[in-house]
Symmetry: C2
DNA sequence: ACAGTCGCTTGATAAAAGTCAAGCGACTGG
DNA sequence: CCAGTCGCTTGACTTTTATCAAGCGACTGT
């Protein structure tokens, strides 16, 4: 791991308040590793030996049941994933695979748990992180239960537009197939959902999406901070 | 609040390790209140002033968007709810209403946050609680995204059967209307879902459900600990 | 006792989402 | 260069789910 990466990780709210020496102890026995795209990092049901942190690239968290598979979320740098399994010392509930070539830092679960007991500020940071994760997934749950597929897509596009701030020109950050799985629809259905949004000024060509008039789309999508605002 | 109630709350994993004096400080400024059925305790979007704990009765956590409403979860004694909003000092993401006549203990958010800073063992307990909540809702998400309505019902019945341990005789703990909302279907559809399960030995009469042969239902429902086991 | 409401069920119908099949264009490896 | 694969789209069709309407029985308040 390059010193710059160490610095980036240390900047996470989770570790920011930690004394340098404690952070070094935390990292003892960690691995920093580069993986190619589409490598499975974690299989659901396995025991949570390591806390994972995406330093570079991207990771898909997904799950299977019978012959179905669904994407739960996408982890982008710099962020942790599967924190909850680590603190509970329990089996992972989700699998994880790299989206692109990615750098991953793996910290032994044991280190996290002991650091938490030693350092109450770190405990507080963990509480904060877990609460944030919980709220994210509650929003995802509401999104899923209260909205139709087309509505989920419309609101997703508005979020991208807000993130990318490029005046209605949005580029999808990954394959449509994956987007479909994240939004809980089939790829065929996603295609049709884009077509449905055409009258609201949405034009797609490959990964580039143009939102002619965000106001129109907004009136259709009816976003609310209690579902769509990443903070809050 | 009766001394017995205090003892029950103190028994929660969240508070168990806390010294008695600290627990008293935590409860300073708390309210213990009885509410009739169907009273709204919390409105989503409001600021999280209090941590709520169900001492008796039951509470439905739900959410609205446009003209839709959905149940996110049910809180039964003795348990906390909306913990995440409290620690983030953020708006509630869900509304809450009593299901039956209920006793609720309300602890000022501020007390929780200061207790967390003062007492690192309490911080650890909070981490544990939040991680458990997170894992619960991840399972709910998988349940929702990977299974059909009938499959969700079948697995729900199996869980009730395991909880109630009454040899295939199960009693639904609340109205079918609410169950439908929890399972993300309409009441009409829930009726039909019960009918669909008839060939697998499921017979309904009002709130009483008889599972003639749990093995049959199990083969249909294909439960997995990674979705259906409340612990794990 | 009675009208009124409410929870639940059933049937008919409509809308949403999934499946199957085909085709197109981009990339990939021999 | 070419065959093969893969992501994506479109069309036809099926299945699932929601909506609308009606009816039944239990409970409620007058």
């Amino acid at each position: 791991m390059r010193p710059e990466n160490r610095r980036q990780v240390k900047e996470l709210t989770l570790f920011r308040a930690m004394p340098d020496a404690a952070f070094d102890r935390l990292l003892a026995g960690s691995f920093f590793q580069r993986f190619p795209a589409h490598v499975v990092l974690i299989r659901e049901g396995d025991l949570a030996d390591f806390l994972h942190i995406v330093i570079d690239g991207g990771v898909e968290l997904f799950s299977n049941w019978r012959d179905h598979e669904t994407t739960i979320s996408i982890a982008r740098p710099i962020s942790t994933f599967i924190l909850a399994a680590v603190v509970k010392d329990a089996p992972y509930l989700m699998s994880a695979r790299t989206l692109d070539a990615s750098s991953i830092l793996m910290i032994p679960s044991e280190n996290i748990r002991t650091a938490m007991l030693d350092d109450s500020a770190f405990g507080v940071a963990m509480v904060d992180e877990l609460a944030a994760c919980f709220r994210e997934i509650v929003k995802a749950q509401k999104n899923l239960k209260l909205r139709s597929g087309v509505e989920r897509l419309a609101n997703y596009l508005l979020r991208l537009d807000a993130e990318q701030r490029n005046d209605g020109r949005v580029v999808l950050p990954f394959e449509k197939k994956l987007l479909a799985s994240l939004l809980n629809m089939t790829p065929e259905n996603l295609s049709r959902a884009f077509a449905t949004l055409k009258p609201y000024g949405v034009a797609v060509s490959a990964a580039a999406v143009e939102i002619a008039n965000p106001g129109d789309l907004r009136r259709f999508a009816k976003p609310t901070p209690l579902i769509d605002d990443p903070k809050s």
